[in-house]
């Protein structure tokens, strides 16, 4: 295996007595699109900021290109970051913003102007160079921020929730712009987000973080279909989790016995909402549990039904509009949930 571009080795970050990052070991390869994903406060932004040198790790080492970076100040690193707020300089014109990094590197005026204009052109902003930042739309600002970060031709680009301030339709468009750019440039993108759809749509590899630790690393499909921990199963997708001791292929859950194809002992299974179907009568065969209907949520082409089992556990089932109108559910009404036992994912308890 080739040497990774970035290596976090036992990196810890503590603020006072609270750990923002508990112990992080992570390799990032050249040319990879990595998404760091997790709920707020999970340490994903701190991790990114440590990579940029804006925070110092309390202990552990961060290596870039085989060189330990712990004591290298931010301005001597080549790790441009795109901020959520974009952090464009309001007192500079568009082209002056893009030129900033080149100017700080002592590139002469004519050369840096040419390179900045080339990047503006590439970002579809030709003719906007003399504008002020407040004369641009949100999407245009986004592209100026990208041009400003990429003009120095870095080996990697760091992005901290760059799309979270944009309108939904722009987010989809910018996702396309970002993945295309990353492929064309062949550089590493490290992308921090709390949005599953952004991470799964763009990243080659997704790192799920929870409370300062890595919960799972994998490609979007693995994470979605085979979550390793309960945290990941609850954080990504719409999953139902059943837990209990297994004996002779039957799991004794708080909601009743459920057939499971796994060895004896304690276990957890993940049943994705899109594999669950609802019925009024108990299905003739297969696993089934009973739960009372709570509410429904329209999620575009499908509907998510929320149900509650007798022990208070919430279940989710994804149905189509036609199925919903056939069921005519009323709040409090009992339903049977069933699923294809071969499609469940078994987690260690």
């Amino acid at each position: 295996m080739t040497e990774p571009l970035v290596r976090f080795h036992e990196v810890k970050k503590r603020y006072g007595s609270a750990f923002a990052v508990k112990s992080l070991d992570l390799d990032i390869q050249r040319g990879e699109f990595v998404a760091l994903m997790g709920p707020s406060g999970c340490g994903k932004t701190t991790t990114l900021r440590m990579l940029a040198g804006l925070e110092q790790p309390t202990s552990g080492t961060i290596t870039i290109n085989g060189k330990v970076m712990n004591d290298v100040p931010a301005h001597q690193r080549d790790t441009p970051l795109v901020w959520q707020s974009l952090a464009l300089f309001p007192f500079l014109s568009v082209v002056e913003n893009v030129e900033f990094g080149l100017r700080m590197r002592g590139i002469d005026t004519a050369d840096r102007r040419e390179r900045a204009l080339k990047w503006l052109d590439r970002m579809g902003l030709a003719g906007f160079e003399a504008r002020r930042i407040d004369q641009l739309s949100g999407g245009q600002r986004q592209r100026v921020a990208l041009a400003r970060s990429l003009v120095t031709e870095p080996e990697m680009l760091l992005l901290d929730e760059p799309l979270s301030a944009l309108d939904a339709h722009l987010v989809i468009r910018m996702q396309g712009v970002l993945t295309k750019l990353q492929r064309e440039l062949g550089i590493t993108f490290v992308y921090v987000t709390h949005s599953q759809s952004e991470a799964f749509a763009m990243a080659d590899r997704v790192v799920i973080m929870g409370q300062g630790e890595i919960e799972q690393i994998g490609n979007p499909r693995e994470i979605f279909r085979a979550p390793k921990t309960r945290f990941v199963a609850e954080f990504v997708g719409r999953n139902n989790i059943l837990a209990g001791p297994v004996s002779g292929g039957v799991m004794t859950t708080a909601q009743g016995p459920v057939p499971v194809a796994t060895a004896d002992g304690p276990a957890q299974i993940v049943v994705a909402a899109d594999t669950v179907s609802l019925s009024r009568d108990r299905p003739a065969q297969g696993p089934a549990i009973q739960a009372a209907f709570l509410s429904e949520e329209f999620a575009g082409t499908v509907i998510i039904c929320y149900l509650e089992a007798a022990d208070g556990t919430e279940f989710k089932a994804q149905v189509t509009e036609a199925q919903l109108s056939a069921l005519q559910p009323e709040p409090g009404q009992p339903f049977w949930l069933t699923w294809d036992a071969s499609r469940v994912h078994v987690m260690k308890a």
Binding site: A74, S85, A87, T152
Partner: protein, 280 residues
């Protein structure tokens, strides 16, 4: 609906309009009219003569005082801006919110005592046998004459304006988006270049407004040049006192005042233009 809104609008603006009208526009208009009046046997008579303007602006004394006042005000504004900046920078970027609030309160405390009292205090401190000369004397320096000089006046000016300038600059610096500063480092700017290229431009409005206030207050100040500057050579404020005292020349003093108002109006307008240039 629009009718009601406009009634409300006038209602809320009324106090300001009345106040500004009664205590600013009318007096200034009166002052302007007075510049054309005649003084006869130590009494003013309404008239329309240009003599006051000709006599005042035709004298070298006026122009000497004018340039001196302008120079001192500009110098005080520059010095105050330079001295205040490190303090404001520390308050804005190095202090907790609590400490910053406490420090800003402390900067207001000097205004609890009359500026005259503070000027008298400086008279004692800067006197030939005062504490400053005593300390300097102990290391073999001085004694220096600090009172009744341009230096003494400058000490007074800075006492007057420095707290205000620090407050304005702190506001200006605190309002800077921290991400801009981090973005500058992230793009390869050293701390010094970050200061020059990002922090100063981003805080420009606060810095300019502070300097304008320093200039305005210094330009019209009478206490510093009189009690600490020895009133010679005279500034415009001292010239006004002298003119009214000698022969009740109120109209000529009004000419000096009109010139001061005009100068402040033009310089502040120009400085504010620079301060807000390129801002929405």
């Amino acid at each position: 609906m629009t009718e009601r809104t406009s009634v409300y609008r006038i209602f809320w603006r009324l106090p300001l309009i009345l106040w500004q009208g009664a205590f600013f526009v009318v007096p200034v208009a009166f002052l302007a009219v007075m510049t054309f009046w005649l003084v006869k046997n130590y009494r003013m008579e309404p008239d329309f003569i240009l003599t006051n303007w000709e006599k005042t602006l035709g004298r070298g004394v006026f122009w000497d005082a004018y340039w001196l006042t302008l120079w001192r005000a500009a110098l005080a504004a520059v010095i105050a801006t330079a001295i205040a900046f490190p303090a404001a920078y520390t308050l804005a970027f190095r202090m907790s919110e609590r400490t910053r609030r406490f420090a800003l309160f402390c900067l207001i405390v000097p205004f609890f005592t009359s500026f005259l009292v503070r000027a008298y205090a400086w008279q004692v401190i800067l006197a030939e046998g005062g504490p400053v000369n005593a300390v300097l004397g102990s290391i073999g320096l001085g004694p220096y004459v600090m009172l009744n000089s341009g230096f003494g006046a400058m000490v007074g000016y800075l006492t007057l304006v420095l707290p205000l300038v620090v407050i304005f600059q702190t506001w200006g610096l605190s309002a800077i988006d921290r991400n801009l500063i981090e973005a500058a480092w992230n793009l390869g700017a050293t701390p010094l270049r970050t200061l020059v290229r990002v922090i100063l431009p981003a805080a420009r409005t606060g810095i300019f407004v502070g300097a304008i206030f320093a200039f305005i207050l210094t330009f019209g100040d009478f206490v510093s040049p009189f009690y600490l500057g020895g009133s010679k050579p005279p500034t415009l404020s001292i010239l006004i006192i002298d003119t009214t005292k000698s022969g009740q020349q109120w109209p000529r003093a009004a000419v000096v005042s009109m010139m001061m108002i005009l100068t402040l109006f033009l310089t502040s307008a120009a400085a504010l233009r620079i301060a807000y240039r390129g801002r929405g």
